[in-house]
Symmetry: C2
Subunit: 309 residues, 2 copies
């Protein structure tokens, strides 16, 4: 009987899950809504129900599963969730809660950390030992992989790359600091910046759109001056954050994921250029590749299962 690992990504709106083989191949995946109001116990029941249905549809049963990997949007310390605001969870002994529902062992990670692990095991950074994943989405999340494993700091309280300072004395962040990277590099921040910039560019194509997206801004940057300016500023700032990461941590690769990363080369190329030109050890060291993340929305559950591989 082929041995399987269940990967579960508990998101604010959806639970995504899949069954992986020992070699990291995804046999099947699916999703169901996150009914956060049911509380942790209910959400875990739903997640196991989803895995049960996936097993059934490939003609397997729970006997084939050797372990459950789970990613949650919050801080994680071992199998304890310290907090997961989006789910309305405070401190939660998730390992104990799951043990009431299944005898299978659990490995737990922050969702962005799990995504980074997925990318280095079977995604864009496959074969490498270290990588930083920056997720440029609603917020600016990220995951750090050092020496093949997730690095999340002492008791899981680190890895908050979005709360490194980018603009000295800049905008006040929800965390209380000023100038945090998230305030400038999330997709949300880019769209806000675009709305401000439009006032100076009354002819911008952005004003004709029902709603502005990061992709639209990058797509129009060759023909629209407003978009060109936005992209130049955004990529210059992202380059600064990547240079900080390069100089202090010198990972083997920097991966860009999330909504903004759908811009592809228009995003990665200028950042790559800045790293090649300004990173500290450039005279001796090979360039650090800047790559688009490869696993998209599946990275979370794939990486969660990879906690077992």
């Amino acid at each position: 009987m082929q041995r399987l690992y269940a990967g579960i990504d508990i998101g604010g709106t959806a639970i995504k899950a899949g069954l992986l083989t020992r070699s990291g191949a995804v046999l099947i995946s699916g999703q169901s809504p996150t009914r956060a109001k049911k509380g942790p116990h209910g959400v875990l029941e739903d997640a196991l129900g989803l895995i049960g249905r996936l097993l059934e549809s490939i003609g397997a049963d729970w006997q084939a599963v050797d372990g459950i990997g789970m990613g949650v949007p919050g801080m994680v310390d071992g199998t304890v969730v310290t907090e997961a605001t989006n789910l309305g969870w405070g401190r939660l002994e998730l390992g104990q809660a799951l043990a009431e529902l299944t005898p299978l062992p659990l490995r737990l990670a922050n969702d962005a950390d799990a995504a980074a692990l997925g990318e280095i095991r079977v995604g864009a950074a496959k074969g490498l030992r270290s990588a930083f994943l920056l997720t440029l989405g609603t917020g600016l999340g990220g995951g750090i992989i050092l020496d093949g494993h997730i690095y999340s700091g002492h008791r899981g309280f680190g890895g908050e790359i979005g709360h490194m300072s980018l603009v000295s004395g800049g905008r006040v962040c929800s965390c209380g600091r000023r100038g945090c990277a998230e305030q400038y590099l999330s997709a949300t921040a880019l769209v806000k910046e675009a709305k401000r910039a439009c006032r100076r560019y009354p002819d911008s194509t952005l004003l004709k759109l029902p709603s502005i997206s990061a992709k639209e801004i990058f797509d129009s940057s060759d023909s629209d001056s407003c978009c060109a300016e936005l992209v130049e500023q955004y990529t210059a700032r992202l380059s600064e954050l990547c240079l900080d990461i390069a100089n202090a941590f010198r990972p083997e690769a920097i991966l860009l994921g999330g909504g903004v990363a759908r811009a592809g080369e228009k995003l990665t190329a200028p950042v790559q250029q800045a790293l090649n030109r300004f990173s500290f050890a450039r005279a001796y060291a090979p360039p650090i590749p800047v790559l688009p993340a490869a696993l998209g929305n599946d990275a979370g559950f794939i990486g969660a299962a990879c906690l077992w591989l």
Copy 2:
């Protein structure tokens, strides 16, 4: 026969060395000038000569030594030095060069990394598993210890904390970037800033000194407005760098060493306050202690020997 480990710190002006026991106690230490003009072979001969004299003075011989640990001011990859500008060394197979002089095995590290290892094994962070050491001296060096070991990035090209950006669009650094932390937080930078500030404070006590030092600036900050302003600005900037480290890497401690750290609490207290007030996980996590480094100028050779412990 007690087993010994030889620690050697090759500096730009002096070779410092000592003999340590397996438990990390320093039995004896000494130093000799670095005669860089003699080339790597000559410098290594001098270093071994120094160790030989230390052994003799405690009535031991080379048979008692199990390993040599060495710190060099440059980038290190295994037992290869990638470059060490201060010594005039380019790429150097240091392990091979040493093997021509002694059969003893070598472990090699960057000098600031070695110092950080010394601090976590037997110094200010003893008993912890992770710490960042910031050396606020002629430059801004630093060492990163994660999970009990030196972290210096892929092939030793990382760990350049002084070249993380601190002031966006700020001063041009020798590395080519703008606004690097070293341009604001080294002792050299603080003294330069003091000279500029004195123009606005013609009554400052600093103008009466034959030369300005970081210690003097901190010492006079209670009575001299110019010094008070300098200290406030310096500690605010250092706090920003420490917050970046705290949010991204959450070490168990941040250690401050180098000339500026002789200011003691006047330096550490405001940084500690900023970390307690603004670090990302402050609502859940215990505060990250900000501590003065404990081993001073001995940290390099002690840490180098600790590569064996």
